[in-house]
Symmetry: D2
Subunit: 268 residues, 4 copies
Amino acid sequence: MDGIPVMTEVIAAGDDVYLYLDRKRTYLVKVEPEKSFHTHKGYIQLGDLIGKEYGTRIASSMDIEFVALKPTLRDHIFKTSRRTQISYPKDISLIILYSGIGPGSRVVEAGTGTAALTSAIAHYIQPTGRVYTYEIRQEFQKNAKKNLERAGLLDFVELKEGDVTQRIEEKDVDAVILDMATPWLVIPHAYTALKGSGVLVSFSPTIDQVVKVVEALDEHGFVCVETVETFIRFMQVERGKTRPQTVMTGHTGYLTFARKAIMVQHES
Amino acid sequence: MDGIPVMTEVIAAGDDVYLYLDRKRTYLVKVEPEKSFHTHKGYIQLGDLIGKEYGTRIASSMDIEFVALKPTLRDHIFKTSRRTQISYPKDISLIILYSGIGPGSRVVEAGTGTAALTSAIAHYIQPTGRVYTYEIRQEFQKNAKKNLERAGLLDFVELKEGDVTQRIEEKDVDAVILDMATPWLVIPHAYTALKGSGVLVSFSPTIDQVVKVVEALDEHGFVCVETVETFIRFMQVERGKTRPQTVMTGHTGYLTFARKAIMVQHES
Amino acid sequence: MDGIPVMTEVIAAGDDVYLYLDRKRTYLVKVEPEKSFHTHKGYIQLGDLIGKEYGTRIASSMDIEFVALKPTLRDHIFKTSRRTQISYPKDISLIILYSGIGPGSRVVEAGTGTAALTSAIAHYIQPTGRVYTYEIRQEFQKNAKKNLERAGLLDFVELKEGDVTQRIEEKDVDAVILDMATPWLVIPHAYTALKGSGVLVSFSPTIDQVVKVVEALDEHGFVCVETVETFIRFMQVERGKTRPQTVMTGHTGYLTFARKAIMVQHES
Amino acid sequence: MDGIPVMTEVIAAGDDVYLYLDRKRTYLVKVEPEKSFHTHKGYIQLGDLIGKEYGTRIASSMDIEFVALKPTLRDHIFKTSRRTQISYPKDISLIILYSGIGPGSRVVEAGTGTAALTSAIAHYIQPTGRVYTYEIRQEFQKNAKKNLERAGLLDFVELKEGDVTQRIEEKDVDAVILDMATPWLVIPHAYTALKGSGVLVSFSPTIDQVVKVVEALDEHGFVCVETVETFIRFMQVERGKTRPQTVMTGHTGYLTFARKAIMVQHES
């Protein structure tokens, strides 16, 4: 129809599969031919999955059905960061949309942490864009690298050890995305790093951090400054018993967005 | 630094700029060299913007400062759909993240409407992916095409006139995304169109639609079925006066997500 | 059955009725025998209502049906304060429950404003309790008095012109309830006015006010200090079309509650 | 000043006190002169509290300070029902305000359960009103009676064993308040029990129950039918660290309110 090659993807040795038992029990598992994966509902011979289409149902040794899904970005970030298990994806998704990034974008991020947000950014800017992610705490680098590798996104990311409150090395980037304790200290460096019209995003749990960031943004000539808070509520849907779920995350953090306006140089 | 070409983008004749006056007054304007753009705060000679860097501040004839931003995806979808002006972006962003799509994905969407959601999908799957968007109401096609063209995304979209409750022509697609009145009638066709492990998304304003969709998904062997509702609240941030804004959208719609599991063919 | 006299209440000349046309059109009307009440759906001869039971349906001159309800506390406070029309009742109701007041309680309130909150407090402490309501702006007194009179609650209220940031005259009150710009300045006076274990409530729109109040409460030896925010969302319920309403109030204010602990006098 | 007797309340033997250690640790304790109350922060000689003013600070054997508060209605209902510990008070408070009840009201309630809602109604209708509370499950009566007695509200309540889907014995009541599985079956009986203009309230966790109740209300000639959902979010307030709390209850139930309009008897 349109010349884009379409092929049914089959599971290969070494692939990750996302084993689904039910809504609450899912597992990210590497398919090693000789191994089996054990659960309290019996074990699965991982070699049996090789050559099967993603999405295949497979019975455990206790004859309980699992589904071998292909992990999506969301599955990866859910599994690599405890923080993201329930509510953080609502923030990541808004960061992606409001930051204006897409394939080819160059993005500075700090701090790296477990690389959950890094993975999301890398997923959407690949293959021609690049994420420069800064982390001051050296001990996070190894785990972050492992998580990015597992998600197949390491090639699009530059892991940097450095303190963005001191300096950002990149220039003319499309977006600077901050999830750190003192984002207001980064605003002057972010201004220098961004191209004109570029987007700054800051995620902060406390309202005190938000006020300081917004003041710094106003001071440095950013425009379109806005702060929002998002919520997600899960529904239990079943005819005759439909209702929102009792458990809900009440707060993760506030998101602040702004755009770089070029300061006018007055000539003398 | 890393071999990715970096250049400062300048405004060219024919480009769209996103003129920012303040948080509530922004304008999407085509830069035609001989024209001026009139507001109640004076007019701007559009030709003056040519050759300037995006993000440049420019004074109107009444000496009021505007900023000439480069329109982002969000600016385009805000300006092309009244529905999206306040709250719909929260839903679009979650659809993008949870659908698992990214550069290269092939996605079926229905209905096209003003192409706001189509634009978002196209933005993230470009340049190698493709969106097949169905619309049954012929009169929407022209406007949808114009909006996609203006956002620079038309090349990645196939606008189709057709009824997805009858048939979806594509096969092995990564995601099927529905924003229409009777999504439950599309579930069997979506199952056939999706590759194994592919994602189905449905957006519906009423709980009655949600119940019907979830029942159809369960019946057709989808797994990971979940329904959520999202909220966004804007904050007024100013030291000494910080508070959430009074106005908030209470409801746009429910989002249902599911993944295709392969039905086992029992041999005889 | 239990000796409590039960009688069907009938509408008398001079009574207020709450005329209901539909969910959005209701009217608080005094029944004057010779008058008629005009709406765009025809007029109603008010004298016709006299002697009828509350809740009676009555046809207008255009044969449109209205219902003559007995005004409840809520109807009075909705009609006497624009602020209360949609969202404030959620706050008033929590103030009543958490302040611990009931029949017989003595309560200090500031400021009076339109007396919407005053009415609610008076309703629940009558007939043996008393509300001492302070207002610094003299011009509010007349309207407040009129509203309390119309709601039949004036006998239980003492309207005072005075500045509670300077002084509260009452002693051993059960609760002090503040809805004013600088509640933190009242905390020392509230401490003196309250009986041991008494409840302080403060309603504030901004987070900055909340922080100052909480600091003042901690400093003055209050305990059980807690701050909450409430939301109310209206549903559209109709089989096949059930959904939350689009319009929702995102913020009215924060509510802070605390209780007076007695300072220990150390003997020498 | 106004002739209302004011006295400082002191703790007497046999009274309940609400011992406060911190926001998360509070205890409802009966003051028995010879007993001591043991916690992991040391014990308190209860006899030492007798004759002290409510609100008094008292040191435990480990020299940790507790505060002996006078239990409010809220403290009683929090302590007598697990369900009410976090979120249900938001619903109880709105039920009280919107039901229009106050001192002197006669109210039918079903089901009694642990009498948390019963206590709240009784608190506000005392001393001249009365609550008729029905419970079909006999085993709840004893505990409900004990809780009402402890809250000092038993005198204003008639505990009835009976099935309100079959019959309500009272007539001309001000409000009927339902917190039960099949409220729609009670609507015809509630209509008969209510006085004209009286208020019906129904609390239901699922949307399916709400739809059935609203249909029954429309059918039986109720007006002012409206359904709402409320939320409460707790704030952590501390200068430099202020933020909403992470934990929030996402759903308790929907509240439906309606008022009885008198059916017109057409004469022939």
